[in-house]
């Protein structure tokens, strides 16, 4: 069943649809929260689900559930990460080319470990773009930044990830 149909059924008030929605999306929430925070956090996960249930009746475009869902999740995660965000963001690096070689070689699990060492802003776009397979526009919407900023964060994130993997002894 498509997410849109599930969301429409939830908006109608069908209890079984909520069960399916939670069962289908819970692993994604846990993965996102765990990787963004570096460790599982049940309180944040619960906070996200509560916000999702409360916000569902007002969701006007059920076909765009995924970006909306991650926007809600991001808000909860960012509240938890606020301290990390008080650090000034480095200047965007627009001229760095994407290092596709690293993407092809690195296994997802290895990636997950290395992700923990990357700053939250960069880790976030990597998670959304590569692990959740969201388009750049959706990432931009979730992060509330222009698409260009997402691209530059992705570039920087790939570079940092590559440095991290090299530091750990992997060949880039």
């Amino acid at each position: 069943m498509s997410d849109e149909l599930l969301v429409v059924r939830c908006q109608l008030g069908e209890r079984e649809a909520f069960t399916e929605l939670v069962q289908g999306w819970h692993p994604k929430v846990e993965r996102y929260v765990g990787r963004m925070l570096g460790a599982p956090d049940d309180d944040v996960v619960q906070e996200i689900w509560l916000a999702v249930v409360k916000g569902l009746p007002r969701l006007r475009h059920p076909d765009r559930f995924a970006p909306w869902f991650f926007t809600v999740a991001r808000r909860a995660v960012m509240n938890r990460l606020r301290e990390a965000y008080t650090r000034p963001e480095p200047e965007p690096i627009d001229d760095v080319q994407g290092d596709d070689a690293a993407e092809g070689v690195v296994h997802r699990e290895t990636l997950a470990v290395a992700l923990a060492a990357i700053p939250a802003r960069e880790r976030e776009v990597l998670l959304l773009f590569y692990l959740e397979d969201l388009p750049l526009e959706a990432c931009a919407q979730i992060c509330a930044v222009p698409v260009g900023t997402v691209k530059s964060r992705l570039n920087r994130a790939r570079r940092l990830l590559r440095q991290e993997l090299v530091r750990k002894g992997y060949e880039a």
Binding site: M1, S2, L5, R15, E30, P40, V53, K54, P57, P62
Partner: protein, 154 residues
């Protein structure tokens, strides 16, 4: 945390019974306050003690209305089906108010244009709200039918 644990923690906002209960409390508080207020406004020369009693009752009713309103907007959201139920409950509350207002008017043998205006306005609001809720639900139901796998096979 498992999905089942998540669902058990979401029990309160997902419970239809709780949503309807909060809504009923809100409407009952509002209707009772309105009727007592109406009685208070249309009854001349009331003793001070009675006026104080009326004020206390109106306040209690408004407090329940505020609590119910807060609960359905902040704690237990109204989904499409609930909105239709809520709109019918609102229409019922309006009917109760109308009967009460009519009884007060008949007992006093005096037509109150202001009261009639308020009752009519609330009636229009209740009807518009019911129509909007039914349309919203119908739109979602149509979309659900379009998206259902069986619709694609046809």
């Amino acid at each position: 945390m498992t999905p089942e644990e998540v669902l058990s923690r979401l029990e309160a906002p997902l419970s239809l019974r709780k949503r309807i209960a909060y809504l009923t409390v809100a409407l009952a508080g509002l209707t009772a306050s309105a009727l007592i207020g109406l009685l208070w406004a249309t009854e001349p020369d009331l003793p001070l003690r009675t006026e104080v009693a009326f004020a206390v009752l109106v306040t209690i009713g408004l407090c329940w209305a505020a609590f119910g309103g807060w609960a359905v907007t902040r704690r237990t959201p109204l989904f499409a089906r609930d909105r239709v139920i809520a709109a019918w409950l609102g229409a019922g509350a309006w009917l109760t108010l109308t009967i009460g207002a009519s009884a007060i008017t008949i007992l006093r043998h005096e037509f109150e244009p202001a009261v009639a205006g308020i009752v009519l306005t609330l009636g229009v609001l209740a009807a518009v709200n019911l129509r909007a809720a039914r349309r919203a639900r119908a739109a979602l139901t149509r979309r659900k039918t379009e998206l259902s796998p069986s619709a694609g096979e046809r």
